[in-house]
């Protein structure tokens, strides 16, 4: 297998694109409001913290791995043209994106520490999931580690979902892709409307479904206080989801072809 060459190529490519994504995010989220404030003469009221969202790195890394995880067919075409098969393409892409994810999360942690100590006087938690799972264990170290793991798993879930959707789309022609992209959300909205109507009529809330959803996020019952949700539940459910989605994506990747 040419995994090393394939990974090296993908990683360098993703790293460059990740840098550009960050640059654009900073320009759009930070500098554009600053520029507008400057033009409108309201610069004296401008606070960096107001325009520097705490979740900026999380949004950047999450949207990056979802979007680039979803771009499947173009990468496959380039690799098969260069004598690299589907399995190597899948593994190298997964490894390269996971590496970017780790780098992104590292930036997120560093940014979170800097943000809470130097940028904002609002003492927000470094990780978003701290408010849900940050007090499950008695030890602060254990709580921190568990929240880091849950956060990573959550972003991996986003990444593999992007990979799965991209691979499914890669199996279809451009026309069928457009139909899927337009049709699937409409179908989902209809399904949601039907579910809501069922909920009104048959009290869906009393069925197993909401109980199951609460169970997989670690909220054993509605009375669980904030920060005390069961930390192992999202770890297990997240891992199961990732494995199922990755295995499905792998087998769908083996079905990619040129021409479609």
């Amino acid at each position: 297998m040419k995994t090393k060459a394939a990974f090296s190529y993908q990683f360098k490519n993703y790293l460059r694109l990740f840098g550009w994504t960050y640059l654009w995010a900073i320009v759009l989220v930070v500098f554009l409001p600053l520029l507008i404030a400057l033009i409108l003469g309201q610069i004296h009221g401008f606070s960096v913290a107001d325009y520097l969202p705490r979740v900026l790195p999380a949004i950047v890394v999450g949207s990056f791995v979802f979007a680039f995880g979803g771009i499947t067919y173009d990468g496959f075409k380039l690799f098969i043209q260069n004598g690299i098969g589907r399995k190597t393409y899948f593994y190298s892409k997964l490894l390269a994106l996971s590496s970017i994810l780790l780098i992104g999360e590292l930036i997120n942690v560093v940014y979170g520490v800097l943000y809470t100590h130097f940028i904002s006087n609002r003492r927000a938690a470094i990780f978003a999931f701290s408010s849900l799972y940050g007090k499950y264990f008695n030890s602060k170290v254990e709580n921190t580690i568990s929240v880091i793991v849950i956060t990573l798993l959550f972003i991996v879930c986003i990444m593999v979902t992007g990979m799965l959707l991209g691979t499914i789309l890669g199996l279809f022609s451009r026309r069928a892709q457009m139909m899927l992209i337009v049709g699937a959300p409409i179908l989902l909205i209809i399904l949601l409307a039907v579910l809501m109507s069922v909920n009104t009529q048959n009290r869906l809330i009393s069925t197993w479904l909401p109980q199951f959803l609460l169970y997989i996020i670690g909220m054993s019952d509605m009375s669980t206080p904030q920060g005390h949700f069961i930390a192992f539940a999202p770890m297990i459910s997240g891992s199961v989801y990732i494995i199922i989605v990755l295995v499905t994506t792998y087998y769908l990747t083996l079905r990619l072809r040129v021409p479609r």
């Binding site: 040419k2 394939a6 260069n82 004598g83 690299i84 021409p259």
Partner: protein, 291 residues
Amino acid sequence: MDSIKIAHLSKSFGQQAVLTDINLTIEPQTIYGLLGRNGAGKSTLFNIISDRIPATSGEVVIEGQNNVNNDRVLNRIYLMGERNLYPSRMRVSDIFQTTAALYGRMDMDLVHQLSSQFGLNIRTRFAKLSTGYRSILKLIIGLAVDVDYVFFDEPTLGLDANHRELFYSALMDSYAKRPRTFVISTHLIEEIANMVERVLVLQEHHITIDETTEKVLNKGYSITGPTADVTAYTAGLNVIGHDQLGNLRVDYVYGQLNGSRPIPDTVSISHIDLQKLFVNLTSQEVATFEN
């Protein structure tokens, strides 16, 4: 060096059979001409060999290893196809670098030399290239990448006569310096006739001819003379086509002539070129499937 062995290969698109039970050995260090009419399945065969599409049945093997998702096998093959698989926004220089990185071996000196000879601007983005220059880009890669098997599917698409000459010359130079297998599929048969060592003819879903060019040409005859004399002489022979001009008739024969049959004084016999032979061999076939 090992050959590519294709065994019992079949491919159908829905109910439409394109290739049926193809058995073929592609030898190392040989230049092949793959001939077939439009829709005969030449591109499909190339796509299966390079694992771009799966076969319906059968297999492609190098060194005892199947080609499907096998980097060791695929890394020894380069297919220059009509389809453009490079990212449209990628610059030509980056495409060369990417190929070198992923194949691991590429003669960059030759890349720059050929780019200069063809007048290819390596700073241009792929999408901005004309059809001819897209072909040139892929031809340069095909000649410079260090693989054992290069498949050229309509390599001269969009190329003017000067660039075609340059390509044939570069191909022969490259072959002399580093012998490897080239399989060229083209409709410009007369232009490659002098360089191909073996001829493959794909017809009615099968490989109908797989022989050296010399043998194939030695089997092709044109029998010219008055209609009555020509038809009498070619009776019972494998007549693959004919031309008629008034009472003058030309019968094209593929195969052995009847050595015991006397040749009338009014009849002349000569060998025919590859293009004429191919046209007559395949003129009965009506290709209906385009891939």
